[in-house]
Symmetry: C2
Subunit: 405 residues, 2 copies
């Protein structure tokens, strides 16, 4: 019988996984479908933005100096510049002149400020000004937001609504992003049933993992939830082979401890190369990883909490690396209010509840008693990892919390 004689460290497991994380290809999509996608190119501005000096308010374009000293009781009077059908770019105001202007319009030559409507009164071709404006006031200068050629968005950025706005502003309507991998997902186990086929009262175990993994993967890649397979070695080998013809990577859960029927890891080794099986993390110890036909296959524990732990500690970093994500923006710092015990020699995945008080977050560990406790997940706001060289966390210690996404 095969045992987990040697557990590899989380660090080494992670290195192995990342060594096989080949970046997905790139694809070009419409900018307005790019939210939450990962940028696969640097975006440099093709233009100065604004592309010319333009009015930032509705009002009158003037030379600011001409308004100096204006008060409601001692208004400054300017004369409307007469235009002789010049095209917009040739428009020029005379000394002591003014022209009406709307937000976004190009500033006429000779003007350098916009006096707002509410501080003026226009009578025929004369403008009374009640309040002075300094030169530059209410004007957006050419290139003030972004200069031509300036990098505005960096490769690897997870695009947000504002970035999409920047793409719109720069008329960059198509954008290169990393392709989303197709990740096959199935559960194994004679004891499992699809919850959709169960009555609430049936004494069966519902398949939780394939649904949770589907939801977790969906935020980064394209999940393909295949379902449940019975503990049958040949059938599972077939399922792996077939799934890999359809998918770029595979997450298999269940049957990854060392019981009689725990042959998923064997099947992976049989079909390709099993690179590790058994990691010094808790929960999630019976996690394995292999390569079949050049495609990565994760062997995940049967218990949902252990699978989620293994996902966060190994699969998420893999997906981030393959999809070009540079930074995980889910973290914050919090102070522990209880001692969190942990054994040296393994990395612990501790679920915590965040409590906000005054201007500090506190992290309270959720009772940790076995990987069957799914409520430890649903009650928590995120997790803390206790490094393998630590004997736990002291009360009052500052810890890094990864907030659930």
């Amino acid at each position: 019988m095969k045992l987990f004689r040697t557990l590899i460290s989380w660090d080494n497991a992670l290195k192995t996984v990342l060594a096989h994380a080949k970046q997905t290809g790139k694809e070009t999509i419409h900018f307005d479908e790019s939210v939450d996608r990962i940028l696969a190119e640097d975006i440099r501005s093709p233009i100065d933005s604004p592309p010319f000096d333009r009015a930032a308010m509705d009002g009158y374009a003037i030379k600011g100096q001409n308004s100096f000293g204006a008060t409601p009781n001692n208004t400054v009077l300017l004369k409307r510049t007469e235009l002789a059908g010049e095209s917009e770019k040739d428009v020029e105001i005379c000394e002591g002149g003014y022209l009406p202007i709307q937000t976004g319009q190009s500033m006429p030559k000779g003007s350098n400020a916009v006096v707002m409507l509410e501080y003026t009164k226009e009578i025929a071709t004369k403008l009374e000004i009640y309040k002075p404006v300094t030169p530059g006031k209410n004007v957006s200068l050419k290139g003030e937001d972004v200069k031509k050629g300036e990098r505005v968005l960096q490769e690897g950025k997870v695009l947000r609504a504002h970035d999409l706005g920047m793409l719109a502003a720069l008329v960059k309507t198509r954008v290169k992003v990393y392709k989303r991998m197709k990740v096959g997902i199935f559960s194994t186990g004679d004891e499992l049933s699809d919850p959709k086929n169960l009555a609430e009262t049936e004494k069966k175990i519902a398949d939780v993992n394939s649904y949770v993994l589907e939801a977790l993967v969906k935020k980064i890649a394209n999940p393909y939830r295949i379902g449940i397979f019975k503990d049958d070695y040949e059938k599972i080998k077939n399922a792996i082979t077939t799934s890999l013809t359809l998918c770029d990577a595979l997450l298999i859960s269940g049957g990854s401890s060392v019981g009689k029927k725990d042959f998923i890891a064997d099947a992976v080794g049989d079909l390709g190369e099993l690179l590790f099986h058994g990691v010094a993390i808790r929960p999630g110890e019976p996690t394995g990883f292999g390569i079949i036909n050049n495609k990565p296959v994760f062997v995940l524990p049967g218990y949902p909490v252990a699978t989620i732990s293994a996902f966060e500690m190994l699969v998420r970093p893999f997906l981030y690396a393959t999809h070009g994500v540079k930074e995980d923006s889910r973290k914050l710092f919090a102070v522990t209010r209880k001692k969190i015990p942990s054994a040296v020699g393994r990395s612990d995945f501790v679920r915590v509840k965040l409590v906000c008080s005054e201007d500090e977050f506190y992290a309270d560990p959720i009772r940790v008693s076995g990987s069957g406790i799914l409520s430890s997940m649903t009650k928590s706001d995120g997790f803390v990892i206790i490094a393998e060289n630590r004997e736990g966390m002291e009360e009052g210690e500052k810890v890094e919390v990864n907030v659930w996404v």
Copy 2:
């Protein structure tokens, strides 16, 4: 000419908006489509979970006490209990007996622990045990995760992958969530063109707002991006009326300052009731809000940065309230590294970049010079609001940062 003679405070604007935030209805959906939806009912467990004492490991079910004192050199020997075709629930082990068991199986009566395969050797009907197990070891007790009737998920929770896992585990395959509002979005302005119809080199202003608002709304509700309307009072009134027959709420951007063509607010007042126009926030001052045919209409500034500011300060709280979101989980605390000036009497929306060093986040304000600076958004990680009674933030002050989602 109409002026913003009186700006209302952010606080009062928010109160007005929230007073008109009627919760959307509820709908029942499949549990596996529920991620990021907002739960509209308390979920109580219909069952104990686990539903019976069950093995948490593959191995042998024994009475733990029987293994006490076992070592590799001094093994304990147990005898396999013979079964006479009992149904699973009647299975019982004899004193000094054992039965093989797999993860998830019901514990036989009389047993209270599972000894793992790796600490045993089974020869015919005898079991050698090398290591003792305490009673309860490797057993998940009935109701240990969740007790029957216990509330496992609370109304108002934004559902995450783990919650969906809990629903699967409890075989709660249909779940009530708040309906997503249909939010109509359009931009106004003669100067605007759809970026999709523009060449990069054209000296036109691309419509940014309708795309940004669509992307922001999409995370909470169902956006319906209608497009761009010219500055034509009757056409805009028609657009509002028509949009409101199709949507539950409306976001109109552009034309909300007090220039000659700034008649969106007038149109809202004409068609219904304009509740405020002009809020002491920066950017975002020319924001308005009204009710037409019982439906909320936001009048948002033309500048993208101002529109985003108004969205975060007024529209997002409105959408959260209507959709039953109780808590905004985007915040963290950071220390300012520069003084951030602000005027008393208005609430400032300051974009900040987060810098993580050791176990602290620092918030660096992005150069704040006008609402035309869209790069202030794309360079930032989130925002800080400086309350209207504050003259800014001191260097070294701890501030609450709302991280972009």
